[in-house]
Symmetry: C2
Subunit: 324 residues, 2 copies
């Protein structure tokens, strides 16, 4: 078994089982990949891919296991090279971030702007998706940092560090009946059509559940994936928007009336995560700290090495997270 074979295997798996495409990405010839893949399968004694005719169509169960472990091997090899680059003081490399729309659209732009002046030679890769898509990217591709909210169960292999709190805000057009009410109740909210996010998570903090507890049946007029769409329809007068606080900017959205809703809905925490045991380059530490100033290298290292949940929680006990 050679590292090259595992590289080829991973590339084929990551390119829709297309050997030709994989070969191109690897800057090598197609027969080279084909042959090494076959050699690997021969050595293992079973097929990693199911072939119908000559095209690869499916991954065998054992094959999936092999692919998963091959990717881990390659990750670790990358990390070894990273140690080398780090020691040479290289401020170049790749920083690949997986995140959700809200972070990518409203939170990260200034962070990335500052980061880029600090590390102009780091190639940034931003991968946007739902939590589920990001979780898959984490296990399949190579994502260095993950920034998201809630649903930590989706990311078992990651160390998750809390970045900041946020709450929901109610948004109405000027002149709306709710515009002058400082602290609307759920009942009052329920009187108007509601425009909010697609309910991706169904925990006790989800909107329907909270309305249900107050015996209010919300009239959800429209659900969207992202805040811009929601704001657009609020502007059209289609209803009352409920969205994340950091998606709103008093200046940018001065045609709308913003009403805090932290008395109605629990606050959430956005975290940043990285693979346990993964290598953090200097620039990754710095990126994290630009996003969340309280997360300095020392704290990150301690959190990554915390041996249990209690030790981990103790690290953050004294820290007041910012609100956004």
């Amino acid at each position: 078994m050679k590292l090259q074979q595992l590289r080829y295997l991973a590339a084929v798996a990551q390119n829709g089982m297309n050997i030709t495409a994989a070969a191109e990405k690897l800057h090598t010839s197609q027969p080279a990949v084909s042959k090494q893949l076959k050699l690997l399968e021969d050595e293992l004694g079973f097929n990693i891919f199911v072939r119908s005719g000559r095209t690869l169509t499916k991954i065998t169960p054992a094959g999936q296991q092999v692919i998963d472990r091959a990717i881990r091997v390659l990750r670790e090899v990358q990390n070894i090279k990273g140690i080398s680059a780090e020691l040479k003081g290289e401020n170049s490399g790749v920083l690949s971030i997986g995140t959700t729309h809200t972070q990518a659209r409203y939170v990260l732009p200034p962070v990335i702007q500052q980061f880029r002046t600090q590390y102009p030679d780091v190639r940034l890769q931003l991968h946007q998706g739902t939590s589920e898509q990001i979780a898959e990217m984490v296990s399949l591709d190579r994502i260095d940092l993950t920034i998201a909210t809630g649903s930590s169960d989706l990311f078992p292999g990651l160390v998750l560090l809390p970045c900041y709190h946020w709450h929901r805000q109610i948004v109405v057009p000027r002149g709306h009946a709710l515009a002058n009410i400082k602290k609307p109740t759920l009942k009052q909210l329920g009187m108007y059509p509601i425009i909010t996010y697609v309910f991706s998570f169904t925990g006790s903090s989800s909107l329907p559940q909270i309305f249900a507890k107050a015996d209010v049946t919300p009239n959800v007029a429209l659900t969207a994936q992202d805040a811009d769409v929601i704001k657009t329809y609020v502007r059209l007068g289609m209803g009352v928007g409920i969205l994340a606080s950091m998606a709103l900017d008093p200046k940018e959205d001065d045609d709308l009336v913003l009403i805090d809703a932290d008395h109605l809905f629990p606050s959430h925490t956005t975290w940043i995560g990285f693979t346990r045991g993964g290598l953090l380059r200097r620039y990754m530490y710095d990126f994290i700290q630009v996003l969340a100033p309280h997360l300095n290298k020392r704290l990150i290292d301690r959190a990554a090495q915390a041996e249990n949940q209690e030790a981990f929680d103790a690290l953050f006990a004294d820290i007041q997270l910012p609100s956004r």
Copy 2:
């Protein structure tokens, strides 16, 4: 970077930085190892080992990082080969177990006897040591299963499954003043010289702490690493023995008087652990179940995949662990 280079590196690290010894274990020539090691260092751009003259004397900090990750890579590669062996239905392989004296001497013999009839072709490697030594073996060498008690913080990368409870017993020679007392108190115990284990862990359940709570200052006459030594000195009349329940056998030790001490000292749990994400061969599952019948494959798999502590604990909530 080649897998071979990482193999050579690991072998050198595991053989006291002796290239010649490593080469022998690898069944290759000494210059081959020397050259590949050098090539690897060249590629990385820094020294993994500190050379004084021509002999390797120390590991550089970055070198240690590289070694750790190289070992992970090799582990994963072994796992891939294991997938292959498993699929071929091979009942052969290596099962390397790290454990403490008490387990190795009193608990494992019947387990291993039964296991060997089931899997005659599995090469068993038993590594005995203190918890600390085992922890080091887990990270350096290749230990498949770890069996120990307490101090779970020493093993952050392992999944630990509870096997059985045990408690402490008091042992005195026939005719000793305590021999007829069913439930001695700590005060009574404190009146005699005590012979027990070296206090390796200093938690709230450690013997000195428990005595201290009762305002008793025990007179510890002798501490030993293993139960046999303790029993020997109890037989010589040097004092009262306090040791683990499974280290005593009413038949074998019928010249001694055994007194339960679970009313004085909290009970402990012995667990079996394996690296998170590691490959478990069929025979490993079976070994675990021979040791702890409640740990069937299904339960082990679920525990290994549990995403958080709560989910993990829930799996064992309904299970009554045996006492030994």
